[in-house]
């Protein structure tokens, strides 16, 4: 049985970057990818805007993915596509045995370390509460995107989009360009979920209305969606019945958020952060199970692929150089009144080294100061012009100190 140094689960942007950086550390690497081709969701994200940070260029999803694939192929990384992991066992030597379902049948490989780079999944109609029928014509935005961009099928002539996530807005533009009518985007909250620039370039440019504090309350249709009911909501998200109106359409497209995919993590007994829905990790992005690492959207849902690559690249390196040792995990404290989440959640002070910290504000704030404290002393502080829950912030903290306490704090508005 072949034994690898690093086995990367997932061949999307996170897996590709993790594999490449692990290979740079002279590790033997295997990528296991569920789909026929490497590249992950980027294959169907044909719109541009990727790579502005990493490549200083505005690339489309396929261009971004293929740069990493070409780089990885040169690095002599092994990969298996159309395959997935069905079981993982811990070995007595600290490594892992992975059972794979491949095109040839069941196979087993061993690996010293595992990088979970399985990305995230879309929330489906089962996770949002819309009453009524369940006819054909209810798609997640990603499914609609797969139909249009990979298969070349138009899933709708006239649709309503529920939720204002980025993929939903991008699909609103895409479907409009291909001749469909997007009646409107309905967002239950009082602010768009996706980036402001996507509201501008995907909705405003094509006169697609964005209805805030409004949601879809019912679906009608026998075999196929025939209409939906939309309703404004009050501050507690309760529908205001007098505002209900019926919209005839053939499809309802859901863009209601993403959840990290951690089915394999469950099998390994990995602890999940309730705030991110991804594993709890230390500054090397290692989970509570020694030798198992997590990166990219499986760790927490990122808003830019550039951040995914950067984080995965660090993780791949850490997985390649990992040596078992005792851990002294210090929790990175924060108030959930100020922050939606903070990743990593722990700092292993026996390992030391730099800390790449990602966080999101709980609500929109302007001119607020954020400070990182080690042993109650300010290690870094920075004033942010504007912070939004939809926009991830990242800081790098370098310290020589033996960390006993660590905390991220938000100060009040600055003058």
């Amino acid at each position: 049985m072949k034994r690898y140094r690093v086995c990367v689960l997932g061949g999307g942007p996170a897996g590709l970057a993790a594999a490449a950086s692990a290979a740079d550390e002279n590790a033997s690497v295997l990528i296991v990818e569920r789909e026929k081709k490497l590249g992950g969701i980027l294959k169907q994200c044909i719109h541009d805007g990727f790579g502005l940070i990493h490549f200083k260029e505005r690339l489309t999803g396929p261009e971004y993915a293929e740069r990493y694939i070409k780089d990885m192929i040169q690095k002599d990384v092994d990969y298996i596509t159309s395959s997935f992991v069905t079981d993982v066992k811990k070995l007595s030597d600290g490594g892992f045995e992975l059972e794979l379902q491949t095109q040839e049948g069941m196979e087993k490989v061993e690996s010293d370390t595992i990088v979970l780079a399985c990305g995230c999944r879309e929330r489906t109609s089962r996770q949002v509460f819309v009453h009524g029928d369940r006819p054909a014509g209810i798609y997640t935005a990603g499914t609609a995107q797969y139909f249009v961009n990979i298969m070349g099928y138009m899933p709708t002539k006239k649709c309503v989009i529920i939720g204002s996530g980025d993929i939903g807005m991008i699909m609103a533009r895409r479907l409009t360009l291909e001749g469909a009518q997007v009646e409107g985007v309905y967002e239950i909250k009082d602010a768009p979920a996706g980036l402001d620039r996507n509201v501008a370039q995907c909705l405003d440019d094509y006169n697609i209305p964005l209805h805030l504090s409004t949601t879809v309350t019912q679906v009608f249709g026998n075999k196929r969606v025939e209409a939906v009911e939309v309703c404004q909501v009050d501050k507690k998200f309760n529908p205001i019945k007098e505002t209900a109106r019926i919209i005839e359409c053939d499809s309802l497209i859901l863009s209601v958020g993403l959840l990290p995919e951690n089915e394999i993590a469950d099998k390994l007994g990995i602890e999940i952060d309730n705030a991110t829905k991804g594993p709890l990790v230390d500054q090397t992005f290692m989970t509570n199970v020694p030798g198992v690492f997590s990166c990219g959207n499986a760790l927490h849902v990122n808003d830019l692929v550039d951040y995914v690559s950067e984080n995965a690249s660090l993780t791949g390196k850490y997985a390649a150089i990992y040596q078992p040792s005792n851990r002294t995990l210090v929790k990175i404290n924060y108030s959930n009144k100020d922050f939606l989440y903070v990743v990593p959640q722990y700092y292993d002070s026996s390992k030391g080294g730099e800390l790449n910290l990602y966080f999101r504000a709980q609500k929109e704030v302007r001119n607020h100061k954020v400070a990182f404290l080690i042993n109650d002393e300010v290690e870094l502080d920075k004033t942010y012009k504007r912070m939004l829950p939809s926009e991830m912030e990242a800081v790098k903290i370098k310290t020589e100190k033996t960390v006993e306490h660590a905390a991220l704090r938000m100060g009040g508005p600055q003058k």
Binding site: P62, K70, D78, Q201, D205
Partner: protein
């Protein structure tokens, strides 16, 4: 005249205040100078790049993703889409290859490499 405008040049998406008095355009609240350039263009001659797909003659690769290699006038987008939707690619195209030239001042280029083998199995024993 004062208006608010979201810059779409990068993911920062600065919400800018734009003041226009005849030819004089001033931009406030942009994090970088690309905001000024964007705002000026937006008021005088708004342009956009577009991305789409074209059909191919290959059953294993039915659609090829494409983009304009520059920006075209915003009001020509749907005319450009009509041209894009008539294309059928009959060769194995590489990323960056021009598929249709001079579409309202831009070219339609491939954003994916049909010769790249990004699948199946590659394990060295």
């Amino acid at each position: 005249m004062t208006k608010e405008m979201t810059c779409i040049v990068c993911p920062n998406g600065c919400l800018m205040r734009v003041e226009q008095n005849g030819d004089d355009i001033q931009v406030f609240d942009a994090l970088c100078k690309r905001g000024l350039e964007f705002a000026k263009n937006e008021l005088i001659n708004p342009t956009r790049s577009i991305t789409s797909t074209v059909a191919t003659a290959f059953p294993d690769y039915p659609l090829l993703s494409v983009k304009t290699d520059g920006e075209l006038p915003k009001d020509k987008i749907f005319q450009a889409m009509e041209l894009i939707n008539k294309i059928v690619v009959k060769d194995r195209i590489k990323v960056g290859d021009v598929i249709l030239s001079d579409v309202f001042g831009t070219n339609i280029v491939a954003t994916s490499d049909m010769t790249l083998n990004a699948g199946e199995k590659r394990v060295d024993n």
